[in-house]
Amino acid sequence: MIKFFLMVNKQGQTRLSRYYEHVEINKRAMLETEVIKSCLSRSKDECSFVEYKDFKLVYRQYAALFIVVGIDQTENEMAVYELIHNFVEVLDKYFSRVSELDVSFSVSEIHLLSFFGVCSSSYCLHSTNYHSSQWRCSPVLHLESCSPVLSSARGELSSKIAIFLKILTLL
């Protein structure tokens, strides 16, 4: 079971957080700082699984951003590791070479992606379909019409949409 999904930068600022279990709001900040501290203290050639309290953290670093997923003992750590990478690949394709800035500004979009995709729940990721053709004209993508980035994206329909939906399904 996935307990939480965090994207935190090196200074400890949370760019995206998704908790699959209820955690008090003041505890969240503490959790995030502790988690990032334990991830930062590891060197490049140490393994990506850290044991933290009674669950495990699987983390991956992408430039200045750490993606950390908290899992419990029943989960296959390497599959989650793979999942993180998939997620980033998809974000990359969607935002064309995603950067931390994109993540900071498009928080609600990414949230929406994650909510459509995985059922909210921590039990598993949803679909792994990358290019579902049935998603071609999804109104899901018609996000706030005031958003400049997406209105340009709408121009290049199907492949982007498909990938977009891939993200949805992955979380």
Binding site: V50, E77, S127, Q134, P139
Partner: protein
């Protein structure tokens, strides 16, 4: 008029600017340079949002809630947005609904009463004409639905589970998982819908269906039995995944839909556990996955990992198990740290069942102890402890002690406890055991657990011949450094007990050192004075000094002086002890030697730490000298009941080997010791039993202080040419007597009378009746189990009169 009116209108409108967009907010917050500035900005924005909510403004509600969610993520309270989320959900616009559901999932949970209001909205949306709205509702329900909501809406979910729309079906399946977790009674409701879930082509639906089936199987054994018939179908799906060529839809680094493969493997694991038929059906496919998966990328390794876990869990054939362990062995040698970590974790899971196979990789595992990575070190340490057995204990201990020296502080406590446990179980000799413990105390002294001190003291008292050696080593250890509390405590206790051996230089094992009584007292006094000593340690030291008053000859005055000084100590515990000891010097001087006598051998209660599974850890012989009593105190009682049956008598009391609590505390506690002084007047010893080469002699001791106690020491010897192993001695006495059986010195009687087992029996005979005893002997000899009963009637009158 109209012109004036419109100007007034435009003025009025200007007072309510449109709320800023989320991006603007983010941009503003990013410009904040300090936490205080950020907080200020957010508070301002919160105020604006609150007033906007009060205005009941429909157009911008969506934007405001999005901003609120962002602020919530940063850690600021956002509870006032909860009702607004509900309003958004109820709106007809899709964008509103979307943000509304998002807000509900982030802000609301079961604890808020507000969430129940959502139930109706969700119900309507589940029946909406647009699949996306239905999807939203399903997601939200599956995320934060409470049990009441789930109960109400389960029917709708079940209906959606049966639709042909795969988008909805997969979400409905995950929602069903959540419903089952919240309300397990509803599981049967979803059963008919699962009938043809696996027939889907869509991987998304397959994936979530497998999750649903896994959840149902985990929760209910009936479901498990029911779904076993799906094993062939699952095997087929897995086969298709592996054998099919490149499919762009599901490909990840060359492997087709690894996530689904992993899920199916996990479900197969649950289905195959403890079931021969299913396990057999899976054998082929597991072998195929194990051999065909490419291991160059992480993806392949993830699948192999899951496969290995499955093979180890089901009733697979031995060839497959060997394959699995080999895969793990290969993982261990891989350069990638992640893979090594995963290998160590799985080996830990399998070490209980396939111990010998894992032993083969012992050297690699021990090398991992030297790795720089903390996670790997921890796993390697746990696995090493699991692998220690009688054969490799010396080598492993060396490595583990070296590890203890160099590891991080967070490991030291666990490592120290592990070493103590392993040493207790597999120590090849007493001296080695004591050396090992000394080493642990000196290197990681401050990290050992509190109960290690009494355990160690008890161990030392039991190894009678090592007393001189032990006390000498301990003395040397604290000479230089007395900051490690457990070490100092043990050392003070030992010096107090065996100080005479130390001063007389009687050590055989090592070069004896020349120590004077004054030097010993110097050390103990410095422990007392030192700021680093805890008050418990000081207590130990003071008591030790007091005990030395009977062991030492020329420094009694000095001791008296020290003790009287502490009679006015601020520490209440020390003060009490000092005052009592002072009294001992002044008024009760005649009792002093008796009170401060050497402590008798203490019995072990249970080993420290959690209950240990008794396992042989790959050993074939049980010829390990142990000083442990028979495993459970219940066992002799049961067998004594057998004795009762045989004796048919109501006049026999069962034997219960008692285990008095161990208190290596002050000698003052020994006032109750019945064995205060033993009278070794010549009571003749008897041969209680002599048959089949086994001879048991009884020697007697009576106590002067308590004439109804008789202490019998039995000695069992073996004149045959083969050892007798697992020797257990039990006794029963008539009802008027009370019996206490202490632990035997070992359970093996060596052949050719080359050694004996000694055991102490205490008999309380308040009515001074004639002593009689029935004994039962069980042992293994020449490969067969032997058992014998006998009655002992030839007790000499001096032993009980």
């Amino acid at each position: 008029m109209g012109f004036n009116g419109s100007r007034r209108c435009s003025v009025w409108l200007k007072r309510m600017p449109a709320p800023i967009r989320l991006r603007e907010l983010i941009r503003t917050i990013r410009t904040a340079r300090t936490q205080a500035e950020e907080r200020e900005m957010i508070q301002k924005e919160c105020a604006a949002i609150r007033s906007s909510f009060r205005e009941e403004d429909n157009t911008y509600r969506c934007r405001n809630v999005a901003k609120l969610l962002y602020m919530h993520m940063l850690g600021y309270p956002a509870h006032f947005g909860q009702l607004e989320c509900l309003k958004l959900i109820a709106s007809q616009k899709f964008t509103d609904k979307r943000i509304g559901y998002l807000g509900a999932m982030l802000l609301l949970d079961e604890r808020q009463d507000v969430h129940l209001l959502m139930t109706n909205c969700i119900k309507n949306d589940l029946n909406h004409s647009t699949q996306y709205v239905q999807g939203l509702a399903l997601c939200t329900l599956g995320c934060m639905g409470s049990s009441e909501m789930c109960r109400d809406l389960a029917g709708e979910v079940e209906k959606l589970l049966k639709t042909s729309n795969s988008y909805l079906r997969k979400k409905a399946a995950l929602c069903a998982v959540h419903v089952i977790r919240k309300v397990p009674e509803l599981m049967e409701m979803f059963l008919p819908a699962t009938k043809n879930l696996l027939n889907e082509k869509n991987h998304g639906v397959l994936h979530t269906s497998v999750v649903l089936l896994t959840e149902m199987c985990e929760r209910s054994p009936d479901m498990l039995a029911h779904f076993r018939k799906l094993v062939p179908q699952l095997v087929r799906i897995l086969k298709n995944l592996i054998m099919s060529g490149y499919s762009p839809e599901h490909d990840v680094s060359g492997i087709s839909d690894p996530f689904l493969q992993v899920r199916i493997l996990r479900l197969l694991r649950i289905l195959g556990r403890n079931d021969d038929d299913s396990s057999e059906a899976m054998n082929d496919i597991l072998a195929q996955v194990a051999t065909n998966t490419e291991t160059s990328k992480n993806v392949g390794n993830a699948i192999l990992y899951e496969t290995v876990l499955t093979i180890m869990d089901i009733k697979s054939e031995s060839g497959l198990r060997v394959l699995a362990i080999n895969i793990l062995g290969r993982f261990l040698l891989n350069n990638d740290k992640n893979i090594r970590y995963v290998a160590l974790t799985s080996l830990l899971k399998t070490v209980q069942t396939d111990h010998n196979a894992v032993q083969r990789h012992r050297s690699t595992i021990v090398d991992c102890l030297k790795d720089l990575d903390v996670s790997i070190k921890r796993r390697a340490m746990e696995l090493s402890f699991a692998l220690v057995n009688g054969n490799n204990v010396r080598g492993m201990m060396k490595e583990l002690l070296y590890f203890l020296d160099s590891c991080e502080p967070e490991f030291k406590a666990d490592c120290a406890s592990g070493i103590f446990l392993a040493a207790e179980k597999y120590a090849p000799s007493k001296r080695w055991h004591i050396d090992t413990i000394m080493r642990v105390l000196t290197t990681a002294g401050s990290y050992v657990r509190d109960d290690a001190v009494p355990n160690l003291i008890q161990l030392i008292t039991n190894s009678v011949e090592m007393h001189a050696y032990t006390v000498q080593r301990l003395y040397k250890a604290i000479l230089g450094d007395y900051s490690q509390q457990p070490l100092v405590q043990v050392a003070s206790w030992c010096i107090g007990e065996y100080g005479d051996l130390l001063v007389s230089g009687q050590c055989e094992e090592e070069e004896p050192i020349q120590v004077t009584e004054d030097e010993v007292l110097d050390i103990l006094e410095s422990v007392l004075i030192s700021n680093m000593s805890a008050s418990v340690t000081r207590g130990y030291a003071l008591t030790a000094i007091m005990k030395l008053s009977t062991r030492f000859t020329c420094t009694v005055n000095r001791i008296k002086k020290v003790v009287s000084i502490y009679g006015s100590s601020i520490d209440v515990e020390l003060q009490q002890r000092a005052v009592e000891y002072n009294a001992l010097f002044k008024k009760y001087d005649h009792m002093r030697p008796a009170l401060l006598e050497r402590m008798p051998v203490m019995e072990k209660v249970t080993t420290n730490g959690p209950a240990e599974i008794v396992q042989t850890n790959g050993e074939t012989e049980t010829a390990v000298l142990e000083t442990k009593p028979p495993p459970s105190g219940l066992q002799p009682a049961n067998q004594a009941n057998d004795l009762l049956d045989l004796l048919g008598g109501s006049d026999i009391t069962p034997v219960i080997p008692t285990a008095p609590t161990r208190e290596p505390a002050s000698a003052g506690g020994e006032l109750l010791d019945l064995l205060g002084d033993l009278n070794l007047t010549g009571i003749p010893s008897i041969t209680a039993y002599n048959k089949n080469g086994l001879k048991i002699d009884f020697t007697f001791e009576r106590s002067n202080t308590n004439p109804s106690v008789t202490v019998i020491t039995i000695q069992a010897s073996n004149s045959t040419e083969l050892d007798m192993t697992d020797f257990v001695f039990q006794a029963a006495v008539p009802k008027t007597f009370q019996l206490q059986l202490l632990s035997p010195s070992s359970s093996v009687i060596p052949a050719f009378n080359s050694g004996t087992i000694t055991q102490v029996i205490k008999v309380l005979n308040p009515q001074k009746q004639q002593l009689r005893m029935r004994i039962k002997l069980t042992y293994n000899h020449k490969g067969s189990a032997m058992q014998d009963l006998a009655e002992v009637n030839n007790f000499p009158p001096q032993s009980w009169q």
